[in-house]
């Protein structure tokens, strides 16, 4: 079976990129608050896309297509990191509190509806006991 070294390298980079995206997706679901979730998503969007695009560049070789891919990669690198920075800043200015050590899971998360409801439910139960 004929296996080009280029194809192998492409596959390697694509696998790394997909792995980063998978890890980031798990992180977005599992992390406790907005800032840590964005931290996970930002990694995927910068490093993950870079790996995938590098893989595609290796696959297409030294052509105009790889030049365009390179431009796309650099653009996403710049824009995505800036966007992540401003998302964090906007959330901070809006008053989203960062998750601290000792907080329960989802305690400072305005979007985790079910877990917030659980926390409230526990508090009311505790009050009832008193």
């Amino acid at each position: 079976m004929h296996m080009d070294i280029r194809v192998i390298l492409t596959g390697l980079f694509l696998v790394i990129g997909c792995f980063l995206f998978l890890v980031a997706s798990i992180g977005v679901i599992r992390f406790p608050d907005f800032f840590t979730r964005m931290h996970a998503a930002g990694k995927a969007d910068s490093l993950g896309q870079a790996c995938i695009i590098i893989g595609l560049m290796i696959y297409s070789g030294f052509t105009q297509v790889s030049l365009k891919l390179l431009i796309i990669m650099i653009t996403i690198f710049i824009i995505n990191t800036t966007a992540t920075h401003y998302l964090a800043k906007a959330a901070f200015m809006k008053g989203v509190k960062p998750w601290m050590k000792g907080n329960k899971y989802g305690e400072t998360d305005p979007f985790a509806v079910s877990s917030a409801a659980n926390v409230v439910g526990k508090k009311t139960k505790a009050k009832a006991k008193r």
């Binding site: 653009t75 710049i78 920075h85 200015m93 809006k94 008053g95």
Partner: protein, 347 residues
Amino acid sequence: MTDLAIPLFLVVCGIAVLLVKDLMSSIMIFSVYSLMMAIEWCRLNAVDVAITEAAVGAGISTVLFLVILGRTKSVDEGKKHINIPALLVALGVAAVLLYGTMDLPHLRDPNIAPNTHVVTPYYLENSYEHAGQLNVVASILAYFRGYDTLFETTVVATAGFCLILLLRVRNKKPGTLDSQKIGVTANKKTPASIGVKPTATFPDVLDQDKDIIKRTVTKLLIPFIQLFGLYVIVHGELGPGGGFQGGVILGVSIIVYSLVFGFDEAKKRMSVKTKDLLVSSGVLLYGGIGVIALFMGGNYLQYGVLLPDPQFASVVGIMGIEIGVGITVAAVMMTLFYETVRIDAND
């Protein structure tokens, strides 16, 4: 699989836009909807439409919605009630549209109307010979159907004029804008006013004027955005794109500048007067090329008579009208933004 996945996601997005209470989230979902729509257009090989959808639907309209949202409340406080007549009308329209889709051909059907119509082989065979265009879409838009595109551009320019007439006259009347002014001042919330104590570790985070990151990144990106816009306009004869798409991208570059550096700075770069002139000058360029063709002894918009070599003349003429379309569309996109933001500037 993707035949179904993207339309399903679109339907989910459409329902979510209606159900979400927070209007900000609603706008974001709508932006996602537009991006998915662009992917769908891409998949259907309509790359020109995809570029427009991504730039206008996901870009400019989101920004305009956010600007308008800044003047109102972002939470829908209305009671949940179902308006029965409105529901019936909506369902009726949906039923009619669904009935209409039954006449649409299947995806990848080779016997669709454009493939069997008598005029199609003529366009395909004569695109390069008459219009000098390798991209048949460009030759149909600019050469065989030049009148249609001229009137489309006129419609876009007319929309720009209507915006100017409707919104600018209202600005000059003092007293009518009090409620909006209150909305604007109420919107300028400092972190202290919303109950957040800035921590000592982030003093510069809250200082907008010292914010160097967005300024640097914008300065870095705007030349490339504009270059890409020009590329899309000029490259329209070979690849996807053309005056409409490139114009939108050029307009976006000014909007981005205005968003980051402020409306006053943007007016120094692109003054309101220049922009107003550009709206009409694009159409003038398009119509003017047609008139020049008349004077050279041809028909209106017959580019072949402009220069001795008819094929090269067509290429030049089509380039000219694409640039005209681009100027008008870019200026109208700026008008959309300028006239919406203008009340903020109190001028």
